[in-house]
Structure formats: C-alpha cells, structure tokens
Subunit: 72 residues, 2 copies
DNA sequence: TCAATGGCTATCATTTATGATAGCGGTGTT
DNA sequence: AACACCGCTATCATAAATGATAGCCATTGA
C-alpha cells in the first residue's frame, strides 16, 4: 500500500474511534493538547504524522499504537 | 509508555528484524533509499519518525506497519 | 600494509510536521 | 435574531524530521 493511502486510512480509524467515544474534534484535540484544525488534518490524512503525535492520540483514545496503524 | 521509550523500542525492533535478515545498515538503508546514518538515527531512537519513513522500512523488511510499532 | 566493510558520530540544508490563529457555512437552541 | 457548537479550510511561524556528506574506529581479508 502506498503512503498517502495509509495515512488516509489511519485518519479514518482515528475518526471512527473518536466518534465511538462520542468525542467532538474539539474534545479530542483538547485532550491531546493541540488545536482542532491539527486533528482535522490528521483525520483527513493530510499530514505524514510522527509516532509522537500518534502516541498522544492513542493514549487519549486508550488504544495501542499498533491498532492505529493496523490498516493494511 | 513515554515517547522516547517507544522510539527506542521501535528502533530495537527494526534492528532485530534487519539482523534476522542478515542485512547491514548499508544494505537496508540502500533498499529504503536513504543514507546509512539516517537509519542509525532511527535504530537508536533518536528521531521521532513519521509513518512514511516507517512504511518504507516495513516494506523492505516485509512486515506490517503495526508490527514495527507493537512495542507496548 | 592497505583496502574494504560495518557500525557509529557530528553536522548541514531543505523539507515538512506541528502548533496556532482567523474565518466560513451549517445546525440547533434560546 | 443572536448565540453556541460543529466540522472544515487556509495560512502562518517554528520546531524538527529527512536526506546527505565527511570522518572516526575496529575488524577482516587480500
């Protein structure tokens, strides 16, 4: 699978987990300690995010890092 | 787990997979299309690597992305 | 002895992720 | 009508990842 496709799918997975927890973009970005537009960028797969950023999100969503990138 | 710890563990996992395939740093970095010192940086956990970089490595090592970050 | 290989460091320029701000359209509520 | 919330875009400055180069030390083999 190609990079952009992977990023989009990771974004979709994050969004699904967020919605499953009834969190708004504002809610989740607040808990992750960054701004809403940055989270949107991630969920849309428009940024080649780092492990550090992914880890913040995984901690708040209470999932393993591996689960977030398990998209192949 | 904390970010730097995760990065170090991911680095160790990459190194283990590389050595299991009898590849030198030069070999793997060549196949990934970047230079040896950059791979060392990654294996040592000194860089907060992106999904894109991790994906390159996963493809060459023939493992899933999730396997590389499964360190918790 | 000398060259080649492997692991490593330090350092540089360029690209880009991150963090933040302002603003828009839509929906729902008072 | 006015306000608040939601998802979203565009854009900016700053920090940092990436990609690359030069060089060090140790080991091995010609």
């Amino acid at each position: 699978m190609e990079k952009n496709e992977v990023l989009v799918k990771i974004g979709i997975k994050i969004r699904e987990l967020r919605e499953a927890r009834n969190l708004s973009l504002q809610d989740l970005s607040d808990k992750c300690d960054f701004e809403k537009p940055n989270l949107i960028r991630i969920e849309k797969g428009r940024t080649n995010l780092t492990i550090g950023t992914l880890l913040k999100i995984a901690l708040v969503l209470n999932v393993r890092l591996a689960e977030l990138v398990d998209v192949e």
